[in-house]
Amino acid sequence: MSDVNVVIKTTVRTMLPFIQLYGFYVMTGTEGAGGGFQGGVILAASFILYGITFGAEKGRQAAPESWNTAFKSFGLWIYAGVGMLTILYSLGRAEFLNYSATFLSLFVPHTVARGILIADVIEIGIGMTVAASFISLFFDLVWRSDEDGRS
């Protein structure tokens, strides 16, 4: 195998874990800049880089479409689910997305619970949806279907 791209492939393989770690760091932190959207896009960029380097088939194996579909619904479900949780806990006082009103407020002061929910639950939900959406968008666009229309 006369591989002229060995430099690119080795570089990408070495860089990927660091890019993904950075994506998670951006996603969950509250002290620095960034949030769910940016972290999710960085996470998706790592898979897109993998797909560009190793080909779309291998990329789709690394990020299977069933997982993408599951994750992009699950992230949205987390976000809206916290909203439902607040309604349930506040016993119908219509505190939708008022993060003080969850069971977490039983254990810690409600302002701290608010911070935890924003930083570690909501943002991860957003990041999941964004990352899975961008990965599936990219692979849908580069995928070549064969003659009888099957992808």
């Binding site: 960034g34 949030g35 896009v41 006082r93 599936s136 849908d140 580069v142 995928w143 099957r150």
Partner: protein, 266 residues
């Protein structure tokens, strides 16, 4: 802000925007658009909007460039269409008109980063002549004239504004005026929130209304225990908006899948 750097960045921005329009090779055009969004990100960071610059760099220069290159695999690489002269003239005329309108409007904008602009601080709603009103304010009573005037302007319970039934008046040392604090109708943050501001200027009392970012700036860290104001605001004060944005991204991915994946999961 460094002015020469700003000017250089804006010149680069304009040049790359024009170049992206006139290049016939679509791949080169996409690459130029990538540099355009990157320069835009630099400008945002120059303006101290780190979060916006970060988003622009990640989504504009990273993801959307990759998506455009990906869609180019299904298109022709070179633009072979002919440009009609009439269309170009109409387009140029519209752009110049729009730019003229922008320059006309720019005069009324507050100075860049102005802390005291109405959008960031407070907006003047009316002024009354001081006929013994300030003595009432000194003993922490809101005069009936100001109260009824605020009610008549529409800031009342019927329009879902907090009522003036329970209030406190506090002398604001820094601004040299009176803050009118109003009882909040919130379950977890009950208490008083400053809403109106009254300042005496000679014989005239000016009544202001505080803008929403004031609470965001002063209380967000204490209320949410998160140091980054932008994240806190986006996920909490504007939680509905962010939920909607997430739904938009989800919907976009689902619709592209529905359009492009014909018979994929048979």
């Amino acid at each position: 802000m460094i002015v020469p750097l700003d000017i250089a960045l804006i010149i680069f921005l304009v040049v790359s925007a024009i170049a992206a329009l006139f290049v016939r090779d679509l791949l080169a055009s996409i690459a130029i658009l990538g540099t355009y969004t990157f320069v835009m990100a630099c400008i945002y960071v120059q303006m101290n909007a780190v979060d916006v610059g970060f988003t622009e760099a990640a989504i504009g220069a990273g993801a959307s460039t990759a998506l455009m290159v990906a869609s180019l695999t299904k298109l022709q690489r070179y633009d072979t269409g002919k440009r009609k002269k009439a269309k170009v003239v109409i387009g140029a005329f519209t752009v110049i008109l729009l730019a003229g309108l922008f320059f006309y409007v720019i005069e009324d904008m507050p100075a860049f980063g102005d802390y005291n602009s109405p959008a960031n601080k407070r907006i003047e709603i009316f002024e009354v002549r001081d006929t013994g009103l300030s003595e009432k304010l000194e003993v922490e009573k809101l005069p009936e004239e100001i109260k009824s005037r605020i009610y008549l302007l529409g800031y009342n319970e019927r329009n879902n504004f907090p009522s003036l039934r329970e209030y406190k008046i506090v002398w604001n040392e820094e601004e040299e005026g009176w803050d009118v604090l109003i009882k909040k109708n919130e379950t977890f943050f009950s208490g008083f929130e400053k809403l109106y501001f009254i300042k005496k200027e000679g014989e005239i009392l000016k009544v202001y209304r505080y803008s929403i970012p004031v609470r965001w700036q002063e209380k967000s860290e204490e209320e949410m225990n998160t140091p980054n104001m932008v994240t806190a605001g986006l996920a909490d004060y504007r939680g509905y908006d962010t939920l909607g944005e997430t739904v938009v991204i989800f919907t976009a991915a689902v619709s592209v899948a529905a359009l492009l994946r014909r018979g994929y999961l048979e």
